[in-house]
């Protein structure tokens, strides 16, 4: 009886702090969530995304330098030792952050935290590793990105929408003059204490804090890097495609912190049905055959890009679908029915809540807030979505549409121009 009661008390405690609290440990922000998952993961998040890079593609090269030789172990040592422990290592680059992640069994935390932090504190950046391993990977990823019209279109849209900063591409140019010294100097400018945050899942906050404290004891205390605040420009571009579906991206951006209205708009236009094998109730659910329209909502720390990615098998079908998409967007900016808004808000809330269920989603949600020290809890996101009403929704959509559109066409020369879609 007593035991049962004690465990309930512990459960209640666990539920109460079921979302991470951010702790500042000797200059490094640490947040951990422990739901008693069977495995743990640690993500070292560095403000070293492509928006901070001094030269095109440096951030991409730095991402591919992850887990190469450091002061503690060589590249092959990292790989083989991680295999022996049975962990997984990966790095991911965004426009804001570089994320180095390790997933592992709980008891191996000291080793994997050391693998991640030793890259930040003592990476060697040797020239031969750059030439033998990093540069081929960088060019392969760039090549793969140009073959995917959707990725290519969204990347091009960013450079039109925000020009510098957020506009710089996630991928290094196909023919670049990057050297290992560029990567090294970029790394030394971003790998500083104020620029690093550590997020753990399935690991106890105090354990992680102790490990991080030990690892970063010798790192210099310097402030975070800063980039000029983003401005929205917009524009139009047309690029020949390398195979893949005909693609058109119609985007609108705003400067300033992301708003809940835009998340609701993305949910309102989302064509993903809630029930399998149905068409859904989105205003875009009756599109011509072999076409698709996906709303793309990309919030950043000081700007956001909202857009519709229209894809189809032929340019004429893309034109038809694009016109329908733009018409739906314009209709949403005039007025929205109360029940439609209710559906959209519910959908957006579910998307926000369910993203926290996965490890990647949790890191993404926390990562966007950990550096700005805003309220990182899910409740804040959900209540801001609850506060969306019809007039605010239409007003936000109209404000979005009043800006100059960002228009990218990837594929055939016959793809429609922006004015042909009614923009």
């Amino acid at each position: 009886m007593l035991a049962a009661r004690a465990s309930t008390a512990r459960n209640a405690q666990r539920l109460a702090r079921s979302f991470a609290t951010v702790v500042d440990t000797t200059g490094v922000k640490v947040a951990a969530v422990d739901y008693n998952q069977p495995t743990a993961s640690v993500t070292v998040l560095v403000k070293a995304g492509s928006r901070f890079e001094p030269k095109n593609g440096v951030a991409h090269a730095l991402k591919n330098f992850a887990f190469k030789s450091t002061g503690s172990r060589s590249a092959i040592g990292t790989v083989r030792e991680s295999e022996l422990y049975g962990g997984v290592l990966y790095s991911a680059l965004g426009r804001e952050h570089l994320a180095l992640t390790a997933e592992f069994l709980k008891e191996d935390a000291p080793y994997f935290v050391d693998v991640l932090t030793s890259f930040v504190t003592s990476a060697k950046f040797t020239r031969h590793e750059y030439e033998e391993y990093v540069a081929p990977h960088v060019s392969a990823e760039t090549e793969a990105a140009t073959r995917d019209p959707a990725i290519f279109a969204v990347d091009a849209a960013h450079s039109l929408a925000f020009r510098s900063g957020l506009g710089s591409s996630l991928f290094a140019p196909a023919h670049n003059d990057l050297t290992v010294d560029d990567v090294k100097s970029y790394a030394s400018s971003v790998f500083t204490k104020g620029n690093v945050a550590v997020i753990g899942t399935g690991i106890d906050q105090s354990t992680l804090t102790a490990l991080v404290e030990k690892a970063f004891a010798k790192v210099a205390e310097t402030s975070a890097v800063s980039a000029p605040s983003s401005k929205y420009f917009g524009g139009e571009t047309r690029v020949a495609g390398h195979g893949g579906p005909q693609t058109v991206f119609v985007g609108f951006g705003t400067a300033g912190s992301p708003s809940a209205e835009h998340a609701a708009l993305a949910a309102h236009l989302s064509t993903t049905p809630s029930v399998k094998w149905s068409k859904g109730l989105s205003p875009l659910s009756s599109l011509p055959e072999e076409t698709s329209v996906r709303p793309v909502y990309l919030p950043y720390s000081d700007a956001s890009l909202f857009g519709l990615l229209v894809q189809g098998s032929t340019p004429s079908k893309v034109k038809e679908a694009g016109q329908a998409a733009v018409a739906a967007l314009k209709a949403a900016s005039k007025s929205i029915k109360a029940e439609e808004l209710k559906t959209a808000v519910a959908k957006a809330k579910f998307a926000a809540a369910s993203s926290v269920d996965t490890r990647e989603g949790l890191v993404r949600t926390l990562g966007s807030k950990i550096f700005s020290s805003t309220d990182a809890s899910l409740a804040a996101t959900l209540s801001s979505l609850d506060a969306v009403d019809a007039s605010a929704f239409s007003k936000a959509t109209a404000a979005l549409l009043s800006a100059k559109p960002t228009y990218v066409a990837v594929g055939d020369a016959k793809l429609p121009y922006a004015d042909e879609l009614g923009l």
């Binding site: 060589s74 092959i76 040592g77 083989r80 020239r127 031969h128 030439e131 033998e132």
Partner: protein, 127 residues
């Protein structure tokens, strides 16, 4: 076992002050007597390059170093065709005869060794 560099007593000789004092003049004389400097070579140009380790080491040279190496090879083979050493001003000076490739060979050999160690590793259960 020793890789492209072969067996060398140099580290042992260098570690002893008396020994290096006696051996260094002999070594300098021998390097000159080998005659490769008369053909514009550096010592590291003479190491057999027909193996994977050397190919990797050569690939780690800077583009400038790689170009210079190829140039020395061409110049020497031309001299060989002419059956005569280079003119004296083109001989390699002692100060120019540096081990430009040796550090790269060492690092390649260290990697090869580390890979072999990991490949033949015996894992023991944690106690």
């Amino acid at each position: 076992m020793f890789g492209p560099l072969g067996l060398s007593l140099a580290p042992y000789v260098k570690s002893s002050r008396t020994l290096s004092k006696w051996v260094t003049p002999l070594a300098k004389w021998y390097a000159n007597a080998m005659g490769y400097r008369k053909y514009g070579f550096k010592y590291d140009d003479l190491i057999t390059e027909e193996n994977d380790e050397m190919q990797r080491a050569i690939n780690r040279l800077t583009p400038r170093e790689r170009y210079d190496r190829a140039f020395r090879f061409k110049r020497a083979s031309q001299a060989s065709v002419l059956h005569a050493p280079l003119p004296k001003e083109e001989w390699t000076k002692e100060s120019e005869d540096v081990r430009y490739l040796e550090p790269h060979i060492q690092s390649v050999m260290q990697e090869v060794k580390e890979r072999r160690d990991w490949d033949t590793l015996v894992v023991e259960r944690r106690k």
